[in-house]
């Protein structure tokens, strides 16, 4: 029973981890919180569903949808960050709340406010591993999440653009002087962050069978919570934080009942901020490794 709960927690947590990474990328590179990520997550699921309904295969729909959400984040960058780079740090945050309202309202008007869900996309098979019940769909979704995280980590550690992102994260001016095209790097960061948020939206829609214009708010806030619990601006921290939030949520529902869920999650957020504001992994490398 406990193992099963833990497994379900890890499954849920992998979605939160992806959202947390897309927050943490911008936090690490630009030190800015993009509040609209929750709505970009929602757009990912809605675009994916629309493409699937148009008759595209799920994989093509996934690919097209994450390109669309990446572009949505580019628009956010153009209007909420580039003109406001020298404004007080809270102003871009408020501006992205504007995008949040805009996206949610537009999605509601264009797609309607009812919940819908993805059609069945594969024959479900249940694996029994010891006491564990593992649905094949969950396994594929989890594998996709892990693939995205590993891919992103390699992208940041190994590629030229990834190196540029780490340089801009250290110091924008110095990076520019040393020949890094910081505008290009920042745009790429937004693109990647939007694509990740969209991808996690589709995976969330596939595994929980809910797609609606209002689905983004709660996972968005939990993604921020995961980022903070794990350590701000650190990708590995975001993964750990996401898994922790997922496990805390599932375990508290399982052992304390549904009302305890949000208490446990937000309580963990509050405690993490009060006791250890730098997060769990933030303490290992306090200054080094911004992303």
């Amino acid at each position: 029973m406990f193992l099963q709960q833990l497994f379900n927690g890890v499954m849920l947590g992998s979605t939160y981890a992806l959202i947390a990474i897309s927050f943490t990328l911008l936090m690490g590179v630009l030190n800015m919180l993009n509040f609209a990520i929750g709505e970009v997550f929602m757009l990912g699921a809605i675009f994916g569903l629309t493409f699937v309904k148009l008759g595209l295969s799920l994989y093509l729909a996934f690919f097209l949808a994450i390109i669309c959400t990446g572009c949505a984040c580019l628009v956010i960058e153009r209007f909420s960050f580039r003109p406001l780079r020298h404004a007080p740090p809270l102003v871009p945050l408020l501006s992205t709340i504007g995008f949040s309202i805009l996206f949610q309202n537009t999605a509601e008007n264009l797609w309607g406010s009812e919940r819908s869900q993805f059609p069945q996309w594969m024959e479900p098979i249940d694996f029994h591993v010891g006491p564990l019940l593992i649905p094949s769909t969950q396994l594929i979704i989890f594998a996709a999440a892990v693939f995205l995280m590993v891919g992103l980590d390699l992208f940041i550690q190994r590629t030229r653009i990834g190196r540029g992102m780490r340089a801009v994260a250290e110091n924008i001016e110095t990076a520019s002087i040393l020949g890094v095209d910081s505008n290009l790097i920042i745009s790429t960061t937004f693109l990647v962050s939007g694509a990740l948020a969209g991808a996690s939206g589709i995976l969330f829609g596939l595994s929980f069978s809910i797609v609606s214009p209002f689905m983004g708010m709660e996972p968005g806030i939990k993604g921020i919570a995961a980022m903070i619990v794990g350590g701000m601006g650190n990708i590995r921290g975001a993964i750990v934080g996401g898994l922790m939030i997922g496990i805390i949520e599932v375990l508290s529902v399982g052992y304390l009942g549904a009302p305890a869920k949000d208490f446990a999650v937000y309580g963990a957020l509050f405690l993490a901020l009060v006791i250890r504001p730098q997060g769990i992994l933030g303490m290992i490398h306090p200054e080094r490794e911004r992303i």
Binding site: L33, P83, L94, G98, I101, L102, F103, N105, F263, L269
Partner: protein, 286 residues
């Protein structure tokens, strides 16, 4: 005045109070995204007092505000270590905890998720709301002119320097947080007794975000900014009814546009000064 205008005026009054409740901690450089939680505490405490303990309205409102203020001070202590986004998220977590509390507990007294029905028989008069608004406006006006107001301003601009010149920023910041929570609690009590009904969903994250938007849009450097922002946000939707379902989208675009055009908000300290309007002075902008 018709019922419609009365409703609009009372919503305006409550929103002005909420804007002031966000302005107070923000004046010392603290962003609170959890003021809906303080509002909920004020609403529920005062409603329990009038409905179940049959207390008169005024002491109930004040008690609701004071209890919200005590929670504000309790949240203010850990908040001292946090800044910017961290503080916003901690207070957001607090607000959600409060909402979940009223959603799941005290069901027999408050109806939990079904909502708290039957708060009194007739709505309180709009004078109740506006006398509180006028009281707090006068209070904040004198506060902004006082020495205390100046120290708050100094702390907002740079708390390290303020500490160096001998301002007790711990007391100042916690006090500002508690004052904001008190105002939010009173606003919550007025809201519950005007609509004769309250429910946990009134106090979700969007409520807190709206209050912050009043202040940031209106101008975060003077309390008139919050008042102005509350006015714009309450009255503008009424003029935008022709947009129907697209009002939200328009609002989003408006927020983005205002932030680009005037990152410090619509009203700034300079605009409120007389010499700003004299010819040749316009360059000095903030």
């Amino acid at each position: 005045m018709s019922v419609y205008h009365l409703d609009l005026l009372s919503a305006l009054g409550i929103n002005i109070l909420l804007a002031l409740s966000v302005y107070s901690p923000m004046a010392t450089g603290q962003l609170s995204l959890g003021n809906a939680g303080f509002m909920a505490i004020g609403a529920y405490v005062s409603a329990i007092l009038t409905v179940h303990l049959h207390l008169p309205l005024f002491p109930s409102l004040v008690t609701g505000g004071v209890i919200a203020g005590i929670f504000g001070i309790l949240v203010g202590f850990p908040a001292l270590r946090l800044r910017g986004v961290f503080l916003a998220m901690a207070t957001l977590g607090f607000g959600e905890i409060v909402r979940n509390f009223f959603m799941n507990f005290l069901g027999r007294v408050t109806g939990a998720a079904y909502g708290f029905r039957g708060i009194g028989d007739t709505p309180i008069s709009i004078l109740w709301i506006w006398s509180w608004v006028i009281f707090f406006l006068i209070f904040f006006f004198f506060l902004s002119r006082s020495r205390l107001g100046l120290t708050m301003l100094a702390t907002h601009d740079d708390d390290t320097v303020s500490e160096l010149i001998g301002i007790n920023i711990v007391r100042l910041k916690i006090g500002a947080f508690g004052l904001g929570a008190f105002v939010a609690g009173v606003a919550g009590g007025l809201h519950a007794h005007y609509y004769l009904y309250t429910e946990p969903e009134f106090f979700n994250v969007w409520k807190s975000i709206h209050m912050v938007l009043f202040v940031i849009m209106g101008g975060m450097l003077t309390f008139w900014g919050g008042v102005f922002g509350a006015g714009v946000f309450t009255l503008l939707p009424e003029f935008l009814r022709f947009l129907h379902d697209w009002r939200g989208a328009f609002f989003g675009v408006m927020i983005i546009g205002i932030m680009i055009a005037r990152p410090y908000g619509l009203l700034t300290r300079e605009i409120l000064q007389f010499d700003f309007w004299l010819p040749g002075q316009r360059k000095r902008r903030l």
